[in-house]
């Protein structure tokens, strides 16, 4: 099974190479899509034949550990466990869907095989981040995502793409260099970069843990993003092409929350406990600010982008509580946000491609002219606002519950209020976009293409499945989460 672990990383890389080298645009896109499909299969196979869990510590189902650069204590140590597995599968799935979508349509008819190649490189980076069990290796993969994502936004994005891409790349590099210093504080303090060893027994002093956690938290907060470090996100999401927005919102942001949970909390638990009230305060602020800003948005993609700030606020609140409930809420909130916001961005892209505007003032009456599209948008919006029975509910509800458990009733009340704001702005969105008389912009829209439906169907199904059976995501992560709470002692 260890070969599969490597294959999850190697297949997309080879696919990217193939789609660049092949001269024909069409064949290049197909080659990339095939690679994305194969890597999804490989990712799914990781759940087979798991190694039994041992003790409280991080115990990967499968792992590969090879020395790479001893001088900086870098080992090629990758492994998968219950926390990373769902995210790896989600990444592979969204990449495949984006490749499928790109088979059919590429913005501005610009070179499609290059877009597919970049998507696959981004996949390598994100999956690598989720699999890495070595801090330096984690950082290498973390950085790998940066330039390809920049290129996707700058090359295939909307009219303001260059400025947005620049802002994205500089802002997130700022986060990752701070992260690097934090990681190296840990590595030099503990004299190992191995995540399994580091989470097993913390040899870091209290002071080093605080310094390390603050640096790590700032680094991950930029990526997640956490208010007030979120300002890169609306521009990047709005200007990115549809597939770029889907990957950005769907999985790229999860690198931040995953890193905070696995590395921030796992390696510096005392630092995490010390800083958790501040983190929770910022998370609640993000929920409220995100909600309020959304209420004032008039642009479709921008509204969805800001809604991400609020949703990721719930995830961060869950992590900040340092309780079992909170961690579980964060993990399922991550997945739900990836599925639902991915779907929302696909739909927003479809609407903007057809109506040539994302301005809510010019949309309206979509229900009349494109009932299927309007129905899907309604479904995604309701899932996103956290209707019980759909995926969005569990993460947000239990983040609030966890805040109460932790003894932060004010935070819980404010976060719940933020949830209500989400309901308000999504219903406003639906009222403006789908109801009312048909606006001129939405008359005569082309019907949905089968590639679009193929790309959306898995997300719709997942949103329902995760809503009805949250155990799908919670069961595999139960053991690793127990291991994390054992070190934070906050329960």
């Amino acid at each position: 099974m260890n070969a599969v672990l490597v294959a999850v990383l190697v297949i997309p890389a080879l696919g990217a190479l193939a789609s660049v080298v092949i001269r024909s645009d069409r064949a290049g896109r197909v080659a990339g899509t095939v690679a994305a499909a194969l890597s999804l299969v490989a990712a799914a196979l990781l759940a087979v034949d798991r190694a039994p869990a041992t003790g409280d510590r991080l115990s990967p189902w499968h792992q590969v550990d090879v020395a790479w650069v001893p001088a900086v204590q870098l080992r090629f140590h990758v492994g998968v466990d219950g926390v990373s597995y769902p995210l790896v599968v989600l990444t592979a799935l969204l990449t495949l869907l984006c490749c499928l979508y790109s088979l059919w349509q590429v913005p501005g008819e610009r070179n499609g095989r290059q877009l597919v190649a970049l998507l696959l490189v981004v996949e390598v980076g994100i999956v690598g981040v989720f699999l890495a069990l070595d801090l330096i290796l984690f950082f290498v993969f973390f950085e790998l995502v940066l330039l390809p994502m920049y290129a996707i936004i700058a090359g295939w994005g909307g009219p303001e793409r260059r400025a947005a891409a620049r802002k994205f790349v500089l802002y997130t590099l700022f986060g990752s260099v701070i992260l690097l210093v934090g990681l190296l504080v840990v590595v030099t303090g503990a004299n190992t970069a191995d995540l399994v060893t580091l989470t097993e027994s913390s040899t870091l002093g209290a002071n080093a843990q605080r310094v390390a956690f603050v640096l790590l938290a700032v680094g991950f907060a930029v990526k997640s993003p956490l208010w007030p470090l979120h300002t890169w996100l609306p521009d990047a999401h709005t200007e990115a092409p549809t597939v770029g927005s889907v990957i950005l919102a769907g999985v790229l942001l999860k690198m931040g929350t995953y890193g905070l949970l696995r590395i921030g909390v796992g390696v510096a638990p005392d630092g995490a406990r010390w800083a958790s009230p501040v983190l929770a305060g910022l998370a609640v602020a993000a929920i409220l600010v995100g909600g309020l800003v959304c209420l004032a948005q008039t642009e479709l993609k921008r509204l969805i982008a800001y809604s991400s700030v609020g949703h990721m606020g719930f995830v961060l609140l869950g992590i900040a509580t340092l309780t079992t409930t909170g961690f579980q809420a964060a993990l399922i909130g991550n997945l739900a946000h990836g599925v639902i916001t991915g779907l929302l961005f696909f739909l927003a892209g479809a609407i903007k491609d057809r109506a040539h505007t994302g301005d809510l003032g010019q949309l309206g009456g979509l229900r009349e002219t494109a009932p299927v599209l309007a129905g899907l948008l309604g479904f995604a919006a309701i899932a996103s606002l956290g209707l019980p029975g759909l995926a969005g509910f569990w993460g947000e509800a239990f983040a609030v519950v966890a805040a109460v458990q932790r003894g932060w009733p004010v935070a819980a009340v404010l976060a719940a209020l933020g949830g209500a704001l989400a309901a308000a702005y999504f219903l406003r969105l639906l009222r403006r976009a789908t109801h009312g008389p048909a606006a001129p912009a939405v008359v005569g829209l082309s019907p949905l293409h089968r590639f679009e439906l193929a790309a959306w169907a898995p997300l719709v199904l997942l949103a329902i499945a995760l809503g009805l059976v949250p155990a799908l995501a919670l069961t595999p992560s139960a053991h690793p989460v127990r291991g994390l709470t054992a070190v934070t002692h906050a329960d």
């Binding site: 950085e143 700058a154 700022f174 690097l180 210093v181 190296l184 504080v185 310094v211």
Partner: protein
Amino acid sequence: MRIDHVALLPGYAAATTAVLVLVLDLLFPGRRGVVLAGAAVGAAATAALAFGLALSGDEARFAFCGSACSFTVDGRAAALMGVFALVTLGVLGLSATTRAPMGEHCFLLACSMTGGVVLAGAADLITLIVALETLTLPLYVLVGLRRTLVSADAAVTFLVVSVVATAVSLLGAGLLYASTGAVHFGQMNAAAKDPSLRPLAVVGCVLLLGGLGFKVAAVPLHAWAPPTYDGAPLPVAAYLSTASKLGGVVALVYVSVEAVPFEHDVAVAALVVLALLTMTVGNLVALRQRRMVRLLAWSSIAQAGYILAALAVPDGGATALTYAVFFVALELAAFAAVVALRTPAPVEADARVLVPAGGAPAVPAAPARAPQVIDDGGTLADYAGAARGAPWRSAALVLALAGLAGLPPGIAGLFAKVAVVRSLVDSDATWLAVIVALNAVVGLAYYVRAGAGLFAPAEPGTPVRWPRPHWTIAVTTALIALVALAIGFAPQIVFDAAAAR
């Protein structure tokens, strides 16, 4: 006097190369290819001998030994000799279309290489400074060889600043000699210190480090670099920013780590100040640059700042050299790509496909303008359309720029940054590590701009396919880019070599 001639083999080979080039130029006047090939063979032989030495024995070899030895070749020194020779080889490969007399060009490069090779083995202050001058002296002429006003200007600027810096270094070395009574690194360190002479040693140490800072273009001794790089022929600019800079780093490492550790506090203070100024000023000014070579020049100033920061911590010598080697590989790759993009092989003014005003490529246009003579780096806007017209060369440039910014796919640059930040954090200089890290963000801003310029749409009326470079330039660029990529995946080789004693 004991002389181990094996230790001197790379030096002999380098000097022989220079002589060989002179003879070839005499025997085959006007045959640029022959001279270039001779020089390349000589540089390759030098590199082979040096790496052979590095791999052969565990024990250091010594030459010119009296009470102490003036020339020491351990694993690290031999590897550095090899790097100097390889860089020279790369620059020779890029020189095929340079508008300069080939005999002189190759001869001077070989002389400069000899200086670099000897510098790597230097074990006393006099050998060090003489070798460093041998490395630098031919460059004054090389910069001016293009025989244009700009390049003459550049040569004079370089000469004047350099002479002052050399004088300062010599004064510093003299004061150190006066205060310790020794010039050999080991003896200087061991010499009995007379407290009354300490002020002399402090001043000597600061002057020597400051003078050497000129070679790496450390702020405030940096102002010569941008006009000199921009005025010099492109391959010479490549050499200046790689071999010459590496020479400065080697000298700084030898002096600060081996010669004056007894004045450690003074050296650290001087280096921290230099490092902070250098990286910050270099990065901020680079943001404003519109010309490719000037941008690379300012960025290489900023990179020198990171190297100086690494030197400021204990045991930072190995890290500084590691960073310098990664930097040299990536910088040379960047310059190679620029050369390949900017100096086309002479082509007939044939009917070429032009980009019409509409945008998409179309039918062959009327006979194109006669190919413009371009042999400088040009502005960033001149590279518009390169990604489409010359994808492989653009890929090499993007790889190099990403590496210089410390990002994948240029993983070598990432490891270089990690090594520096790590050694700073390890020595409890976390604040300096944060400043280095933030500087890297500023750096990315201009590297991204330079890289994105390649993908900008081409101006109407320019050829869709960029003219091919001379084949030696194409091959050299490909090889250098591959090396820069490969050492990213096997960086341990560089780490080991820099730490080998």
